[in-house]
């Protein structure tokens, strides 16, 4: 399966707990257990919409190979604020939206999300076009979108 990262299609190297190849993405409690058991293990951290960014320790952020945010539905809005807060806390790794929809990509990107595992039925090639649909923005409401290459 391919995902979008930094506006490019790449092969997905991470799997959610429960199957598939690659490194594992775990919910917070399991993520901490694994880290306690083996400091060498490097997992991804999975956050549900109701998880509070303030409850994460700096050590969680340092240890996370990536942070995946769940967008269970098209109109789930909490992940946008979670991403902004994660970037504000200084997290510089990958923030991946799980279940992203093409039409939401430009706003997600401006919130600091840089990788997208698309929802079922979304065509990854077509979704790439979404980034260039909206390039204008008002600086009062946040960062510029990254420049198209």
């Amino acid at each position: 399966m391919r995902i979008i990262k930094n506006r490019k299609l790449i092969r997905n190297r991470w799997r959610l707990d429960g199957g598939g190849d690659g490194r594992v993405i775990l919910p917070l409690a399991r993520f901490r257990e694994l880290r306690a058991a083996s400091s060498a293990a490097r997992a991804g951290l999975l956050l549900a919409p109701e998880d509070e960014i303030a409850s994460l320790a700096d050590a969680d952020l340092t240890a996370a190979g990536l942070i995946a945010l769940e967008f269970g539905s098209f109109n789930e809005g909490r992940g946008y604020s979670q991403a902004v807060e994660l970037r504000r806390r200084g997290f510089r790794g990958e923030i991946r939206a799980l279940g992203a929809h093409r039409d939401n990509l430009p706003l997600m990107e401006r919130c600091g999300i840089d990788a997208y595992q698309l929802a079922d039925g979304e065509d990854p090639e077509a979704a790439l076009a979404a980034f260039s649909e909206i390039t204008a923005y008002y600086p009062l409401n946040g960062n510029a979108p990254p420049r198209a290459e």
Partner: protein, 567 residues
Amino acid sequence: MYQYGKNDRKLLAERARQFGGQVTRFQDGALDAGHFQHLRLRNGLYQQRHAHMLRVAIPYGVLSSAQLRKLAEIARDFDRGFGHFTTRQNIQFNWPELADVPEILARLAEVGMHAIQTSGNCVRNITADHLAGAAGDEIEDPRPWCELIRQWSTLHPEFNWLPRKFKIAVSGARADRAAVRWHDIGLRLHHDAAGRTHFRVLVGGGMGRTPVIGKVIRESLDGADLPAYLQAILRVYNLYGRRDHKYRSRIKILVNDLGIDAFREKVDAVWRDARAPRLGEAEIARAKSFFTAPFFTAPPKKQKDRANKKAPHVLPAAGAEFLRWRARNTEAHRDPNMRIVHISLKAPGAPPGDLDAARMDALAQIADDYAGGEIRVSHLQNLALPHVHAEDLTELWRALHRLHLATPNIGTLNDMICCPGMDYCSLANTSTIPIAKQINARIGDLDRLCDIGEVQLKMSGCMNACGHHHAGHIGILGVDKKGEEWFQITLGGSAGDDARIGERLGPAIARARVAECIEKLLETYLELRSPGEKFLECVRRAGVAPFRERVYADHQKPQTHPEPVAA
């Protein structure tokens, strides 16, 4: 007024193109209907009872004559020749074809207008005092701040998918004409001891099924902190507002559930923590530069005509009709040589807030001739010319009168707010426009209306309260009982600084008897009032009881509904 620059225009053009693509994908079956619904709502497009409805924003109620002409063009080309001004300084077109909407948006963009975020669960059009920049009681013109908030909220990346819709209103005068306490966020401008612009911030007001008056979250916020502070409120709401139930999702519910103090703590924590940038002085000054006073530069039309050697009009002196209009529909301007002129869109028999394309064009010309090309839209569904030279008043009145736009009923009972109801809205329980007509027909005598004086009547066709009935001095709510239309009356609500939720009068009234009931309320007032006492003051003093007795005393059983109806 604010002038669109390159960036604003680019944003509108891109957005219109993006929506055009979404419409095509939807029509081709490549975009799921449920997803498309969310996207079209964020572009102002509803599915109504009979057709689509497009809601176009008129930010903080400021409209240029060029924009009004464009709205006329759209009404003619894509609607049945009408536009409907709403209570939130928007205009709605009730008959556009889906396939035409991208074209409509492109045409609106030509004059710096759009339908972005006029519906859907996001920050809606920013509303303000419609007399901003003209009113004598103004502390500071709120429009530069409104424009900054408009930019801040437009395509805000974080807040496009809120739990529910979000409405912000701003007032910069001593009297609140923007109903700020009934909004998700209300902002009241004042100056601090050093003369800096500050805002009193209210949060969690709203109509709907659970009417709540906004609570003060911050007494005095430096204007430079406005975007950062709004962001903190919205983030707390976005993260913690309920998403499991449509009617429990507004910020008012979150504020009530947490309590205002706990809510404030959360907001302050985010605000402190976010270290969000403050507005720079240059940014504020730039916003203000768009709202200097152009009306002082244009001479009165009379003088212009004389200078152009136009023959002076020889017209009969304006008589009593003019004087009544002048007293009812105009008011003092901050410049004693000017007047503010209100244009009532509540002529008896016409749906409140409706205006046809021909009169939009004519009014645009009048605005050019007499008012520096500026028109305002009020949350009371009327229009205003904010800056008119006093010496032009008689001629202006004649021009308006010819268009039947000089109905002298501003502030009277007939100047009512009324949602579209069953005629257009698919959520409606009852009709509203026919009820408005019924009331106008029964209580239409202008002398009598002027004697009764200021009464705000507000009517909604269902509990969603788009007609703001909770805030009406007299409120009317349509309820459906076994397929019949009944009307629940409330008394004593208000929208301004004394904001209050109206109190229920009693059991719902049968459709045929609404006007009769209103008449009884007015008779009771005329009997009870002490000299100079307004309707609302009288209700507040005497209480609802005498009004209730009068309305229900001689009502037979079948005239009121036997069961209590939830308000």
